[in-house]
């Protein structure tokens, strides 16, 4: 298996995704299976520094600097899980610090 359980746990932390411990072995097996499968791309030679393929326009079209806010049919109070005095509220940061 190309991917250890620890690696899957680390990736899950990066992705802020809780994985119940009992699900971890099966999930790690599936992730490893997928990663092994896509790993076959390694057999393709050629210039890896070549410019990446781009679908759509070759250059971004810029927007004129005009104040034109897109209206919201309903404001944040209508869809926020917790909203008070105009603020979105979330649980206070645990050991994370304000950056």
């Amino acid at each position: 298996m190309s991917l250890t359980r620890e690696q899957v746990e680390k990736v899950a932390r990066l992705a802020e995704l809780h994985v119940p411990p009992e699900e971890l072995p099966a999930l790690a097996g599936q992730i490893a299976r997928i990663v092994d499968y896509v790993g076959q791309l390694g057999e393709v030679g050629g210039d890896e520094q070549a410019p990446p393929f781009l679908a759509g326009p070759a250059a971004v079209a810029l927007r004129e600097d005009v104040v034109r806010p897109s209206p919201l049919v309903r404001g944040p109070a209508a869809f926020a899980p917790e909203f008070r005095d105009g603020f979105f509220l979330v649980p206070r940061l645990g050991h994370l610090e304000d950056l």
């Binding site: 250059a59 944040p76 649980p91 610090e97 304000d98 950056l99």
Partner: protein
């Protein structure tokens, strides 16, 4: 044992645009929370970014002012991390292909004299929102108004060798960007913010020590103080046999203390990749050259011109060029006919005083030039001229001569009027007259002062003294 300090700065400057970086919301400051927001800045499902042409242009102008190479193609990339004020879970920034690289800023090091600080890169990005941690118990309150505000991030090389040098660099950088018209660079408004990296090493050592980063410093004084504190913290660690950990720190301006922000180790893995919502930013070289040609005069050129053309001393040049508006006002006063050195004195004195109090130059430049003419021509004393200035500040449409006359401040050179005041003063001070005649020559100043007082400042002092001498003379 001595230590060498190595400092590099990351400066975030907010270009002055009407709308945000990727949406049509106003680029404004101080709205009620979460009112200046749209699907794009809220990170709603299905919302897409569209870049602001003026933010790009100002980024280019800033890069050119810093002597950077502006790249014909740059790429917007996503910097992925989770934080409550980052609604999409990523910040749109530029990573391996930034807008511009390789510039330099010249400044005056207090220790080393003139130095050149390299600019590693300038890139465009969007700002995040604001998290308030102490407003509600056990809750963080999030205001997303600032989300999507355009930013130019300017990264210097590790070229600074002291906290004071860091400050000098910041002053020079700020001046360049303000002159170029990129941003007002106001730390109070948060349109300029600084992250500072510092490491120490033994002199002569070529490699760099482990660096730490002090985040979100919001005044030049705090940058200097925080870096001083961090220098001492690192040296303290090393000299007691410890080692420096690569951490992020926060500076408490109130206590002057640094606090280590405990950051999860993974949060440094930002998983940058090209933003698939944004095709490459392609700039025509001819357009970039036109922007270069259109750059306004920058501080170095202006300083040289003030010294050469106006013959002003270095101190005056420094004060007059600190802010572009001051120089523009000074030049308008000179253009209206004032003597350059006199104009410099008046602008540095009265006009900058007004600027500090009112935020502007209330007296139109031609009026100030007229007033300077009255003073240098002797029609109004310097003292009286200041009173006229104050009156002009309140009534900028009144001609200075008329104001001086109305306030009775025109100097009186008429012999008979002067003689009257002189006679009265001498009559009132017989003791002093006797002492002067006995050889106490310095009393001439006393008599002159008394005459000025009696005339309420209107007497022309240049004419009073000969008159006094002839009346007191043998």
């Amino acid at each position: 044992m001595t230590w060498e300090t190595v400092i590099g700065l990351e400066v975030h400057v907010q270009p002055t645009t009407r709308s945000k970086m990727f949406c049509g919301c106003a680029n404004s400051f101080g709205d009620p929370p979460n009112t200046n927001v749209c699907p794009v800045c809220l990170g709603l499902p299905g919302a897409l970014p569209v870049p602001n042409a003026e933010a790009v242009r100002l980024g280019v102008v800033g890069a050119l002012a810093l002597g950077c190479t502006v790249h014909p193609t740059s790429i917007f990339a996503r910097k992925n991390y989770f934080y409550p004020d980052l609604p999409k879970g990523y910040q749109v920034s530029q990573y391996d292909r930034p807008l511009a690289t390789g510039g330099a800023v010249r400044c005056e090091s207090p220790e080393r004299g003139p130095i050149e600080v390299s600019i590693t890169r300038l890139h465009l990005e969007e700002d995040a929102g604001k998290s308030l941690h102490d407003r509600y118990p056990r809750r963080t309150a999030v205001d997303l108004n600032r989300c999507g505000t355009p930013l130019c991030e300017i990264v210097s090389g590790p070229d600074l060798r002291s906290p004071a040098e860091a400050r000098a660099y910041l002053v020079a950088l700020r001046q360049l960007l303000v002159y170029a018209g990129v941003s007002d660079c106001s730390m109070e408004k948060g349109t300029l913010r600084v992250d500072a990296n510092l490491s120490v090493r033994r002199p002569g050592q070529s490699g760099l020590g482990t660096k730490t980063e002090v985040k979100n410093l919001n005044s030049f004084a705090f940058v200097e103080k925080a870096l001083e504190a961090e220098y001492h913290r690192q040296v303290g660690l090393l000299e007691s046999g410890g080692r420096v950990e690569q951490v992020t720190l926060l500076f408490n301006a109130g206590t002057g203390e640094l606090r280590v922000a405990r950051v999860k180790e993974e949060s440094h893995d930002y998983r940058y990749f090209p933003d698939p919502d944004l095709p490459p930013l392609v700039l025509a070289p001819a357009w970039v050259e036109a922007e270069r040609a259109g750059l306004p005069e920058l501080p170095t050129a202006r300083r040289a011109r003030y010294a050469d053309r106006f013959g002003l001393p270095g101190y005056d040049v420094g004060v007059l060029t600190a802010e572009p508006e001051t120089g523009a006002y000074f030049e308008a006063v000179v253009a209206a006919g004032a003597d350059p050195k006199a104009a410099a004195n008046w602008v540095m004195g009265e006009a900058l005083g007004s600027l500090r109090e009112t935020g502007g130059f209330p007296v139109p430049a031609p009026r100030l030039a007229e007033l300077i003419g009255l003073v240098t021509g002797g029609a109004v004393s310097h003292q009286a001229g200041r009173k006229v200035y104050a009156e002009l500040a309140a009534h900028p449409d009144h001609p200075p001569g008329v104001v001086a006359e109305r306030l009775g401040l025109l100097q009186v050179g008429d012999e008979s009027a002067l003689a009257g005041w002189v006679e009265a003063v001498l009559a009132a001070h017989p003791g002093e007259v006797a002492r002067f005649r006995a050889g106490e020559a310095k009393l001439l100043g006393f008599f002159t002062g008394q005459v000025m007082k009696a005339s309420q400042g209107k007497a022309d002092p240049k004419k009073v003294q000969p008159l006094l001498r002839s009346r007191l003379g043998p």
